[in-house]
């Protein structure tokens, strides 16, 4: 019996809307922001290899779904306002 063709003959990858899967399970250490120490210099926002830290009124916000826990942010923060906390 012929299998029903449920695959497109030419596979295209979309560009208007892109997507990915969370990588939170990679993490061993989790960066935690100490907002009282943060000077809002945004160094962490620029240097995060994954681009998962964004600016907000209160200070940087980490999208933990996509944070791999490398710790570059904590290493770079001039105010020592990011602490790496063991997660697993």
């Amino acid at each position: 019996m012929e299998a029903k063709e449920d695959y497109p003959e030419i596979l295209t990858i979309p560009v208007k809307e892109i997507g990915s899967e969370p990588v939170a399970h990679w993490r061993v250490m989790k960066p935690v922001i100490k907002y009282d120490l943060c000077r809002k210099c945004w160094v962490c926002v620029h240097f995060c290899p994954e681009g998962v830290i964004s600016e907000s009124e209160e200070g940087p916000v980490i999208d933990y779904r996509f944070c791999k826990g490398c710790g570059v942010c904590a290493n770079e923060c001039p105010a020592k306002a990011i602490e790496m906390v063991r997660e697993v």
Binding site: D6, V23, F47, P49, F66
Partner: protein, 700 residues
């Protein structure tokens, strides 16, 4: 007596080469072959193998150097697969004419069209008609034995041909089994030293040489003569494998292997690692009274037609199922199927023939898949003259990603390592370039990570996967098409250092010289990282990599890195710059200048950004930016630009920090003595002085 050890197929091949006392090794990294030549480098570095090791810039050269070493009288070895085999194809085609024995290991991997790093025979099958001896192995033991057998066969004066040992990528190359490693003395008794022949190219002692050009009218004649050699080789294979089995106490080796064929009415014909699952299926079915047997073809070239005919003619076999891990598109058959069918069609009462196409791209072929195939085969027994092809498919749903982003050039979630410097650089490149761009990706860490997101991608602009040596050419073609069609699109190549400085240099050089307005980002992690940390042209002197290991005989890379900025200066392209992910503002200014240059159509813009790699450089993943910054502050990675010929230091330092601060952070330099560091310090100081002298000056 030998000793038993747990070896992967790749390691077993390396042991086979070592025990064969190979004298020249020339190879280029490619998954899943790379560990073979890493192990060989390690044997040499430790002083366990006395051989020359050549690090060429790509497979075209890697295979050529190995062929030439064989031509010059050495026992030579090379290894490759897939795209590498494709890139070396011209050399592979020419090799047999030299009549110089050479072994090439092929850790089989799909040859893209669609890419996969896992096994099928779409790579080695492209070479089946070229006159190489081709051996396909089933187990790790056979990987080791096969290399030794092959040298014995191909160095026999009745043969003198190149030989290919094909092991299924991952299924064999990366899975481990207990392997009996014979004693060196035993192997020496079986395999005498490589001889010089009358035609060995050696001005000091041989009588002549082979120059593979002959008059047109002799080509057909020489093809016939050559075919005679291939047919004659069968007898040599029978002898050499029989002797091997006797000496080393192995089971029957030969051109093909029979398994439970007695009384069989159906026969499976397989090659390679899937034969093990086929064997299990045969056992199970035999227990249930199904009369099925197995033939495993070991040597596909020369093809064992005589053995096959004899077994089928023995009587009783009414259906043959040939399982192919390759397709010959346009024939609806696989190459093994075609071969077996052509033998069976010569018989008076030919059995039914079903050609199964299975395991493409490395898809697993399970015991129950084989049971299904046998049941299809059995169903043909009440019919005559059956000849059909069945694809064994395992369907997976194409799922939408669970998190989506609209109108962005980048989204997080790539499979790049945690703390990857290239990830940081590339996300900024994508941000600055914007939506009106196309990225040309030769194979590297970043593009491999792109492919892992199928059917989605974390890059929000179209990407074109370029063959490794031709990235600049892909970019040129795209750019010219957009130009012709009146479109303004930034065509940007995101290439690693291996592409830029080694395999892709020729294509880049041509595009640069021809003034093609494309942006070339060389993200330099100073080694081939995607294939697992092999030396590249830009790897720093003394650095450890897996192909420049540290041992009693070797202490990391011996040579200085290739100076790519000077290479680009020699091409007088309108914009050249170095950059660092620790100096993002400087990087952004430079990329914007590059965009301006290509927008005006002035020519190629080259940005060389150093991207520290925690995995390959052996430092903690949180230190990526710190390492990048220290590279600049110590003067080991000076930030410069050459804007329309004018040289400028863009980050001028009043004083350099000691290079030790940078070097001592990294495990790849762990073996360096204080003297080594002092030597690097001196070179860095000298270079910095030179740059200060050049600052502000026109270079052309």
């Amino acid at each position: 007596m030998g000793r038993l050890d747990l070896l992967s197929g790749n390691r077993a091949v390396a042991y086979g080469a070592k025990l064969s006392r190979v004298q020249v090794v020339s190879a280029y990294p490619i998954t899943p072959q790379t560990p073979i030549v890493e192990y060989l480098a390690d044997f040499i570095a430790r002083g366990e193998l006395d051989a020359e090791y050549i690090h060429p810039e790509g497979e075209h050269s890697a295979i050529a150097a190995a062929v030439a070493a064989a031509v010059a009288g050495a026992r030579a070895f090379t290894a490759t697969c897939s795209q590498g085999l494709g890139y070396g194809f011209e050399v592979i085609a020419q090799a047999p004419a030299y009549r110089a024995p050479l072994v090439m290991a092929v850790a089989n991997r799909t040859l893209g069209w669609y890419w996969s790093v896992a096994a099928d025979y779409s790579d080695s099958m492209t070479t089946r008609d070229l006159g190489w001896i081709q051996l396909y192995v089933e187990s790790c033991q056979e990987c080791l034995d096969g290399v030794i057998q092959l040298y014995k066969i191909i160095e026999d004066e009745r043969v003198l041909l190149p030989g290919m040992i094909c092991l299924d990528g991952f299924h064999l190359s990366h899975s481990s089994e207990p392997v009996d490693i014979p004693d060196q003395r035993e192997v020496d008794d079986y395999l005498p030293p490589r001889k010089l022949y009358r035609h060995t190219t050696d001005p000091t002692e041989s009588e002549g040489y082979v120059f593979p050009v002959i008059p047109t009218r002799l080509h057909t004649t020489y093809r016939r003569l050559f075919e005679g050699v291939m047919q004659r080789a069968k007898e040599v294979i029978r002898e050499a494998t029989r002797e091997f089995s006797e000496r080393f106490g192995r089971g029957a080796y030969g051109l093909l292997e029979e398994y439970r064929t007695d009384g069989a009415e159906a026969l499976l014909v397989t090659m390679g690692s899937m034969s093990t699952a086929a064997r299990r299926a045969v056992d199970r079915l035999r227990n249930r009274g199904v009369r099925v047997g197995l033939l495993r073809v070991r040597f596909f070239r020369p093809f064992p037609s005589e053995e096959l005919t004899k077994i089928v003619e023995k009587g009783g076999i009414r259906a043959v199922g040939i399982v192919d891990r390759a397709v010959s598109h346009g024939t609806s058959m696989g190459p093994l199927g075609t071969e077996v069918a052509s033998v069976l069609y010569a018989m008076k009462d030919r059995p039914n023939i079903v050609n199964f196409i299975a395991g493409m791209g490395g898809d697993d072929v399970s015991v129950s898949d084989f049971e299904g195939m046998v049941s299809k085969l059995m169903n043909t027994l009440n019919k005559d003259g059956v000849r059909e092809t069945v694809f064994i498919e395992h369907r997976v749903p194409l799922a939408k990603p669970s998190v989506t982003f609209k109108d962005v050039t980048y989204c997080p979630g790539s499979q790049l390592c945690s703390g990857c410097g290239a990830a940081l650089a590339v996300r900024h490149v994508l941000r600055i370039l914007g939506k009106n761009s196309v990225i040309v990706f030769p194979p590297n860490c970043v593009s491999a990570a792109v492919a892992m997101h199928f059917p989605s991608n974390w890059v929000g602009v179209p990407c074109v996967l370029a063959n490794y040596a031709a990235a600049a050419a892909y970019a040129r073609g795209l750019q010219r098409a957009y130009k012709y069609r009146g479109k303004k699109v930034y065509v940007t190549v995101i290439a690693g250092d291996g592409c830029t400085a080694d395999i892709g240099l020729q294509s880049l050089s041509s595009a640069a010289e021809c003034g093609e307005p494309i942006i070339w980002i060389n993200y330099d992690n100073e080694a081939y990282m995607n294939t697992g940390i092999q030396r590249s042209g830009t790897t720093p002197a003394k650095a450890w990599t897996t192909t420049t290991p540290v041992g009693p005989r070797w202490r990391g890379k011996k040579e200085l890195p290739k100076d790519m900025v000077s290479v680009m200066i020699a091409h007088k392209v309108p914009y050249i710059a170095t950059a660092s992910p620790a100096f993002l503002r400087d990087f952004e200014v430079k990329l914007r200048k590059a965009m301006e240059v290509v927008e005006k159509g002035e020519g190629l813009a080259y940005i060389h950004v150093q991207t520290p790699c925690p995995t390959g450089w052996r430092f903690h993943e949180s230190k990526t930016v710190e390492v990048a910054r220290l590279a600049v502050l110590t003067g080991m990675w000076p930030l410069i630009e050459v804007d329309h010929g004018v040289f400028r230091l863009t980050v001028k330092l009043p004083k350099l920090r000691p290079v030790a601060e940078y070097i001592r952070l990294q495990g790849r330099f762990r073996h360096l003595s204080d003297e080594d560091v002092a030597e690097i310090q001196e070179l860095t100081n000298k270079n910095w002085k030179k740059l200060l002298d050049l600052d502000g000056k026109p270079l052309w």
